[in-house]
Amino acid sequence: MVGIIVSFDINGLKVEYGNYFTLDIDSLFIDTAKITCIIGRNGCGKSTLIKAMCGLIKYPEGNIIYNGREIKHMKAKRLAREIAVLSQKHNDVSAFKVKELISLGRFPYNRFFHKSERDDRKAIEEAVYLTRIENFLERKVNSLSGGELQRVWIALALVQQPDVLFLDEPSTFMDIVCQIELLELIKKLNTEKNIGIVAVMHDLSHVLWLSDDVIMMSNGKVVTSGPVDNVMNSENIRDVFNFDCRIENTMKGVFPSIIINENQKRDILE
């Protein structure tokens, strides 16, 4: 599909949660060939936005157009073949074996009379290979560490063979090595497998390192969005996070760093 940009096009989107929170997005364009990170303070509507984009919550007002089709009018199973989500919260599935759990990702492809075992096996093998979970396929989920478990959930999403993968704070609860491995994996999925990535992230250094585009949100609204170099500067960060810092990128190939400025340090301590 040369020349066609695969994208989300959001217009006039409004989602209300009781009286106290409204997600209100006039217009937003997300190029799903790239890696897009959504940042903002807790409770600013990042998760709500991606849930609406994945069809997980209803939105009475506005449009979310994915590839020319309105999300809320798409059949759930069809959507699940194109979009996968890694949620923040999962049920306790500790009694499952890893192998059994990830095979459930084939559910959207499962029809009564039309079922391809070969496609299923291929999708599972590839997901296992990409996330490098070969060694614990036979283990029960409750024997895994947090980092391993997160890789299993990503494998489950990849078994869906999505075009776009949504990640809601994927690196929470992970140690630094697992976090870097995860970021490498996300990059690899995007560059080698052409899977579009939309991720909600908290660590701004990770955002700097990972993303092509960044969306900054505050109080249910998009403050600014665009290529990472344009969006991620100390002025914008101060506006959204009310936080004084500077960005330093001293060595090539290493994380750019967010350095907290002296006066901000004093503010936090006081």
Binding site: C54, G55, A76, S87, H90, V93, F96, E100, F107
Partner: protein, 312 residues
């Protein structure tokens, strides 16, 4: 391989029980006893056990709660109320009691599911609505029993679930419904597997969570209701069996469902055999045996598998 081993283990023990029931502990070893009293009774025990167990599997999956059983959607209370009404208020309708019993339990479970449907078909809502409706119906039931305590004896036989005096007629009235229910349970396996992943993950896999939860609950109530209608209330089997199987086989319903059906059938047959052979002068209703035995077995499981149990 493990699955195969357990499969044959359970059914072999089932066959052993069967022959024991057939040949060993009978006092009148005539063909009539064997084929008109014992055999239908054994078939009913196996079928009911399998239905109750798979109903329990579905309920636990749908409610995301290992403590759920068919009673959670009001099967037992609905059936009890129906029986009380028939025996106390409309004694003329006693011959229709299976049908009335079925209607009672289905109506109550629909009431509970209807209340929770309005609240978004969330598993917590089903559990809460179940507790509330069950307590109201339990109250009405106690009131009826107090009012008509002279006729309580006959009703109690039903409420404790008994297989005594069941003939081929009961087999024929249970068999087709049970087969349909059990086949549908196999269809339900893949949905049960997705729904236990949690609402959000299930939705992102393309499952209509509310609708699926409703349909699976209806199937679970149907399975329990057909057994209640034919043999009365047999508690605990829907709770103990899926639990035991989950400890043995893990979380995948592709294993849990068939293994639970086998164990359920076996366990109910065992309980019935014990019930009619342990005391000479009377038969203990299978429901009573099941509650006592199941409880003891369950205590043992919790004790032995303390760690596993916590992790489930």
């Amino acid at each position: 391989m493990f699955f195969f081993a357990l499969f044959s283990g359970v059914s072999e023990a089932g066959i052993k029980e069967f022959f024991q029931g057939l040949f060993i502990d009978g006092d009148i070893k005539t063909n009539i006893v064997l084929f008109y009293i014992r055999l239908p009774r054994i078939i009913i025990a196996i079928l009911s056990g399998a239905c109750l167990a798979s109903s329990g599997v579905l309920m636990q999956a749908v409610l995301n709660n290992p403590l759920a059983d068919p009673g959670a959607v009001g099967i037992s209370s609905g059936a009890s109320l129906a029986i009380s009404l028939v025996f106390f208020v409309f004694p003329g309708a006693i011959s229709f009691s299976p049908v009335i019993c079925f209607i009672g339990s289905v109506l109550v479970s629909f009431l509970i599911l209807g209340i929770s449907w309005n609240a978004g078909m969330n598993s917590i809502h089903i559990i809460l609505a179940g507790i509330a409706v069950n307590s109201v119906i339990g109250g009405i039931n106690s009131f009826l029993q107090l009012l008509f305590s002279d006729r309580l004896q006959f009703a109690l036989m039903w409420m404790n679930g008994s297989l005594s005096g069941k003939s081929w007629n009961t087999v024929f009235s249970l068999f087709p419904y049970a087969v349909v229910g059990l086949i549908l349970s196999f269809v339900a396996i893949k949905y049960a597997n997705i729904i236990v992943l949690g609402d959000e993950t299930a939705k992102s896999l393309g499952l209509n969570v509310g609708c699926t939860r409703l349909l699976l609950s209806i199937l679970a109530s149907y399975l329990a209701a057909i057994t209640v209608a034919n043999v009365g209330i047999i508690g605990f089997i829907g709770l103990v069996v899926p639990h035991t199987i989950r400890i043995l086989s893990g979380g995948d319903h592709r294993k849990i469902m068939p293994m639970s059906m086998l164990l359920g059938g076996f366990l109910l047959l065992l309980a019935d055999t014990i019930g009619r052979s342990i005391v000479d002068f009377m038969e203990i209703p299978v429901g009573t045996v099941m509650t006592i035995l199941g409880g003891i077995f369950f205590i043992y499981l919790i004790y032995r598998n303390g760690r596993n149990y916590r992790e489930l």
